[in-house]
Symmetry: C2
Subunit: 321 residues, 2 copies
């Protein structure tokens, strides 16, 4: 078990799902839990069978609780799928793979939401019950749905991602509800008060892009005195996991680490890229961002910890202009 | 596989849970499915985790579909309880044992009810999806909750039965909602149109008593030209399963087959008792009810079929005065 860093900075991370969870798993091994706040994308939230599902919140919580199915990157390890199998008998869509243990989280969340609790309160409760001491906050308590306009229809992001296996050409990403979505309590404060803000290696359009679309978040990132470090989810022109590359290509955005840096250039201080992208350092630095390279691929636990240490190390030596 | 009886009478059964399910399992082996209508108690219905649970409807449907956990008499065989285990982590009451497959039924029912379907429509859908051709009808689509007044409080029947293991002295049985509960579509018609009405060996107070408390049901039983046969759930002064004996004793009702006959004496033609209760024949016949005895204990499938055959045999030779 790695030791926590001594006097640790307060850290706020912006997170999507699997890629973010890996880095946060590493960070959690070296950062005291009470120093870490994680703001999580809820644009993927959806309803199945009358249950409110928050895929990214669950991936992060399950990962930090050591419950996650590491092979898939989501869901609970050794889970069964008996309820889902029976729901198919009753004629329900079952392309969204809900395990039996996982289902308890959605049932619990739905019961609490129906009782009038906010998603941020429910999330705090779930984290407490799972024994987590890091602060996990949904980006917003308000309705926010990421929709994808394809050549033939407009569908929820989950349908695009899971049901259609990201096979459609993406014509537009719609942040439904963004204009009215207020940041959840603690979101702005945790960005302003942090010493380091980490933008996790998540999809820049539908995981980080959604968080940035919540009212006031982008402004807070510009205003905060925190050192702001992003990790590229793109390595050598392809994505480690997920449809970011397909989506970027569809939308006419060059699939490269520097494209991601560009999306964050109005607030970012440091951009961490993979060694494979060393040739892009100059291009990123022309955006006024310090670019650094390291091995960013996280396979084993030690990779996650190493990357987390690297990020904190770079941040600690960085001096704002 | 036993053959169906040749030209079969149309049969309507009034049913509670486990005891009824056994007899209906036997009946279904010898009666064409389209000849059998089953009116089921919904006084036990309850809500857990925001899901609408209909214990007796499920026991009957699972039994006829060959899915029931025969050892317990309820739930689905070989089911897992992983969701429930995780719900306990989230701090929920878990004394009501919901299996993972079973949960799908409650989720499906709740989704349909929330979409505006009536319980009777949902039940028809569940039966169809489970491949059942018998007609299963909830006694009412309206709110009806069986409550138990104990010495210290008034609780839902399920709480009395499952959480407290029927350990309280029962001071009163309250049929909450009975005054406004209309029979579900088909309930009255199926009683009036039947050639035989069978009152299953279920708890006379909280399974059959509730059905009889639905507006118009008792009157229909008096008016129908059907031959009305009840099977005693009490054998030799004790009950095969469930709290009927405890409840009767608490309420000052003698725990005997003849007490059950008395509760149905305003409409009943034939009362089937166990051989152990042969001495009570005269007492029952003084109520104006034909009393017959046979081995009523249903352990194996052949017991169920034999009892079902016996009932149909007795009914076929019975001539109303």
């Amino acid at each position: 078990m790695p030791k926590f860093l001594g006097e640790c900075d307060t850290i706020t991370a912006l997170a999507g799902g699997v890629g973010a969870a890996k880095l946060l798993d590493g960070l959690s091994s070296i950062v005291q839990p009470d120093k870490l706040t994680i703001i999580v994308n809820t644009g993927d939230d959806c309803e199945f069978y009358g249950l409110h599902i928050s895929p990214d919140l669950d991936i992060i919580a399950y990962t930090l609780a050591g419950l996650v199915d590491e092979e898939k990157g989501w869901g609970i390890k050794d889970d069964t799928f008996n309820c889902l199998e029976m729901l198919r008998v009753y004629g329900h869509d079952t392309w969204f793979k809900l395990g039996d243990r996982d289902l308890a989280t959605h049932i619990h969340r739905t019961v609490m939401l129906r009782s009038g609790y906010k998603l941020s309160e429910v999330t705090r409760d779930i984290c407490a019950k799972l024994g987590l001491r890091q602060k996990i906050i949904p980006m917003s308590d308000d309705y926010f749905a990421t929709k994808i306009r394809t050549d033939k229809d407009t569908i929820h992001f989950q349908e695009y991602l899971v049901k259609r296996c990201s096979s459609d050409v993406v014509r537009e990403i719609i942040y439904e509800g963004a204009e009215n979505a207020k940041p959840a309590p603690g979101v702005i404060e945790s960005i302003i008060d942090a010493e380091i803000v980490i933008v996790c290696p998540s999809n820049p359009l539908v995981s980080i892009g959604t968080i940035l679309a919540v009212n006031g978040v982008r402004q807070a990132l510009k205003e905060t005195k925190a050192k702001k470090v992003a990790v590229s989810p793109i390595i050598g022109g392809t994505v480690v996991k997920g449809p970011a590359d397909k989506m970027m290509r569809s939308l006419g955005i060059e699939v490269s680490a520097s494209s991601v840096a560009k999306l964050y250039s109005d607030f970012l201080d440091i951009f961490v890229m993979d060694e494979a992208d060393a040739p892009l350092v100059k291009e990123v630095e022309r955006l006024g961002i310090k670019a650094v390279v390291t091995d960013t691929l996280m396979k084993a636990k030690e990779d996650k910890i190493r990357l987390a240490r690297f990020i904190l190390g770079v941040a600690s030596t960085f001096r704002k202009a």
